[in-house]
């Protein structure tokens, strides 16, 4: 019997080995695929199991965390939620994350290896780091001024520091409170449905995710292309442009809203926004140089991230001459985000260099120790400093005596360009009012701010004047806020 007992014991040993081998399979070899299974709630629980790190504006957090004591324990809260929504986005336990909450999630949730004092040791212990902080470049006063300036109107504001590319303000209106999407209750579902169903699209980040026809503000790009390509060598020389201007190859004629555009100089045409002059200049420059210049300002760039992605602004690369003429005055298929137009204004103010815009100044651990910092990075040299200087003068003229006088600030040099963009079938929609500008305090070495403002439902007369009337005062308020801080 002894022999058979031993054999039965061997059977038990085989069963034990089978268990151990199978446990190793599950716990070691298949562990990562099980851990990453979307139906496995553990990563979600771990994510919300500790307070999320804060997004900081002007030294103060604009976010917070509330302990709910539930399975997904900490819920996101927001200070001035609607004001900062285009910056922070939301961090919802049900609907995921957007914007900074999304792009900086690894830091905010504490999973970023940079937060570990000893990364390898952390891999062994699996300890989770406390959520880090994300310090933004946002200027609190500028953000407030932009949001207050838009008021009830639909529109967006983007402001940049020209010398660095720091984003000083990023505002979209109407806005919403991202705090409404925190938590897991039925009221969150209801808020989500309501916000998505709202035809004014409060969750759309108009400053970076919506493109508009830029209208006359695009003439800055056309002027730069004309100067860079040598089509215009003297800004005060007549441009030999007719009024009205018949679009090449068509019987359609282009007219102006103002007088004196026939054979006007570039300076005059810029100051008073003559469509005919810029349409002809665009055709004279040619498709190659126009697209080249537009691209170097940042158009057609699909990879721009601030650190979340920005909708690419469009300047078509295949156009016939009539389309090129229209595109050169910011119509036809030309579309730009407010951030893109702020970058153009910043390039003029900053000597022709287009800086890569960024929103995150630095990331710190929960204790405040810096783990990474951002710095200025040049995207392109869009034009010669000399060209930039001439454009600066012309933009200054717009504010001192042209269509943008509403943006003038005592004690500072301000340059600007108005725009009114037709859109809709047969241009039937209420035009978009644009204003792009920059400001440099008289005692400063560098321009402090470049702004782009778009107001969707400008209720003023059609024409360039609406850009100056609706959008310029908002830009002025933002510039004043930056100059004053």
């Amino acid at each position: 019997m002894t022999k058979y007992i031993r054999r039965a014991a061997v059977l038990c040993a085989v069963l034990l080995v089978a268990l151990l081998v199978n446990a190793t399979r599950v716990q070691v070899f298949q562990a990562s695929s099980y851990d990453d299974n979307p139906a496995n709630r553990r990563q979600t629980i771990a994510r919300w199991g500790q307070p999320r790190g804060d997004v900081v504006v002007g030294g103060r957090p604009v976010t917070g965390s509330r302990d709910t004591g539930e399975q997904l324990r900490y819920e996101r809260t927001y200070r001035n939620g609607p004001l900062y929504a285009p910056v922070t986005g939301f961090a919802s336990q049900v609907y995921g994350t957007t914007f900074l909450e999304n792009a900086e999630d690894s830091v905010l949730s504490g999973t970023d290896p940079l937060l570990s004092p000893l990364p390898l040791w952390n891999d062994v212990t699996r300890a989770q780091n406390a959520g880090g902080k994300v310090v933004t470049t946002i200027n609190e006063a500028a953000q407030q001024a932009a949001y207050g300036g838009l008021g009830d109107r639909r529109g967006a504001v983007a402001a940049i520091e020209p010398s660095t590319g720091k984003i000083l303000a990023l505002v979209s209106a109407p806005s919403y409170d991202p705090g409404e999407l925190s938590g897991t209750g039925t009221e969150v579902t209801r808020a989500w449905r309501r916000l998505n169903g709202d035809e004014s699209k409060p969750m759309l980040n108009r400053a970076i995710r919506q493109t508009y026809p830029p209208g006359s503000t695009f003439k800055v790009v056309t002027a730069a292309a004309a100067l860079e390509s040598g089509v215009v060598t003297d800004v005060d020389a007549p441009t030999k442009s007719p009024n009205p201007y018949r679009l090449p190859g068509t019987s359609t004629s282009l007219t102006n809203e103002v007088d004196g555009c026939e054979d006007a100089s570039l300076r005059y045409a810029f100051e008073w926004s003559c469509n005919t002059v810029f349409a002809k200049l665009g055709v004279d420059v040619g498709l190659g140089d126009m697209t080249g210049t537009a691209d170097s300002f940042g158009f057609n760039n699909r990879r721009l991230r601030i650190p979340f992605s920005v909708a690419p602004s469009n300047f078509d690369t295949r156009l016939d001459k009539a389309q090129l003429a229209l595109s050169s005055i910011g119509q036809f298929d030309t579309r730009a985000t407010p951030l893109q137009m702020a970058m153009i204004s910043a390039a003029v103010a900053g000597g022709g260099s287009v800086k890569s815009p960024y929103l995150v100044e630095r990331r710190t651990s929960a204790g405040g120790g810096t783990v990474s910092t951002a710095g200025p990075r040049t995207l392109h040299q869009a034009m010669n400093p000399a060209t930039a200087l001439r454009l600066r003068e012309m933009m200054t003229d717009v504010v001192t005596e042209g269509t943008g006088t509403n943006a003038a600030i005592p004690g500072a040099t301000v340059g600007g360009k108005t725009g009114t963009a037709q859109h809709g079938i047969g241009n039937a929609g209420t035009p978009y009012a644009w204003f792009i500008s920059w400001a440099q305090a008289d005692d400063a070495m560098q321009p402090a701010v470049a702004v782009a403002v778009v107001v969707e439902d400008a209720d003023a007369d059609r024409g360039d004047i609406s850009g100056g009337g609706d959008a310029a005062p908002i830009a002025k308020a933002v510039m004043e806020a930056v100059l004053g801080s």
Partner: protein
Amino acid sequence: MTINAGTTVAADPPTPGVRLPRRRGIEFTLIVVAVLLSVYGYCAVGLAKNGTVPPGAAGYGAGLGVLALLAHIAVRLRAPYADPLLLPIAVLLNGLGLVLIYRLDLETPHDPAATTQLVWSTVGVGLFIAAVLLLRDHRVLQRYTYVSVVTALFLLLLPVFFPPVNGARIWVRIAGFSIQPGEFAKVLLAVFFAGYLAANRNALAYTGRQVWRLRRLQLPTGRVLGPIVAIWLLSVGVLVLERDLGTSLLFFGLFVILLYVASGRTGWIAVGLLLACVGAVAVGRLEPHVHSRVQDWLHPFASIEAGEGPNQLAQSLFAFSAGGMLGTGLGLGHSILIGFAAKSDFILATAGEELGLVGLSAIFLLYALLVERGYRAGLALRDPFGRLLAIGLASIIALQVFVIAGGVTGLIPLTGMAMPFLAQGGSSVVTNWLIVALLIRISDSARSQYDGTAAP
């Protein structure tokens, strides 16, 4: 021609009488270690969940310590030569089980189970002490071979008259307590198998007709074969009536192992496996409850792909994988996601998640040690009944661990069964303490000097 066990017709040559050292001091030391480990786990759970040592830590430690000490004293008094590892392993597994149940209770404050489990553990230890004190010689049990099987059958059939719980008819509810009679039937059936086979082993081994002239496939006469087929039909019958795949598998495995050990016929293993396969396939096809278990085993993530969220097996696999090599630490896992059976059938998932592969392997090895000590006692004995009973009891533990651990880790289809000592379940804890008491009694006989005739 019944052969009385206890007489010296055993085929094996008698081993020379050896009196092994008592080793009670080692047992005591190991018990202290087991209690301290359990208290440490209890404190670790409290520290992880609430940041403080749980208020009941001293009481918990004292309770477990006193129970273990009383059991130890009983062993000292009446089984001084017993294997010194058996009791400490049982104490450690029971203590760890209480820690895991307490830890899961913190997630389900409306449904506490640790206190009930502690009461049942006390009952189990009480039964252990009673068995060690009262049962002076295991051979006495052979007299109750047929009483055992009749009682076992009665207990097995009892739940049929009670309403099913979670799809299985294996509970009896009386006055607020739910009891699983099938648990007690395990021990009784082990006694029956051991008694029947010890009495008939010669007939099984040496008579009958050959199949295809192969000695290994020689089958015994129908008179001896009858009860075997009856038991097989019974196990399938239990399964169908009560929807309890685990118990049926356990009885059948137990029977095949004991039959093999008693007769030495490989043919029995072949016949057993064949019958088991036929039964399993038939039931797996026809019984919807069992069929769905098999489907879950083959496709654990099917419900996720169907958009219905993870089922219990998928959640269990997630829990094990979350533990990885070293585990999350006691109290820091999320095995509560498994749902209603987290404290019973799936308690091993909590061990796997919070103690990791290392802790899980340690638990498996504790069981393996328990089984091995049972086998060792069986080898050292000379009476066939005692040998078969020791092998049977040890195999019950081995099969139980394999069936439930294999089920929750996706190795075999899942069957509702209790992890010995670890899982929530009163009947199970009491039964397992009884099994350990019998093993202690047998190992005492095996390790003390023993001339084969003198019954104390």
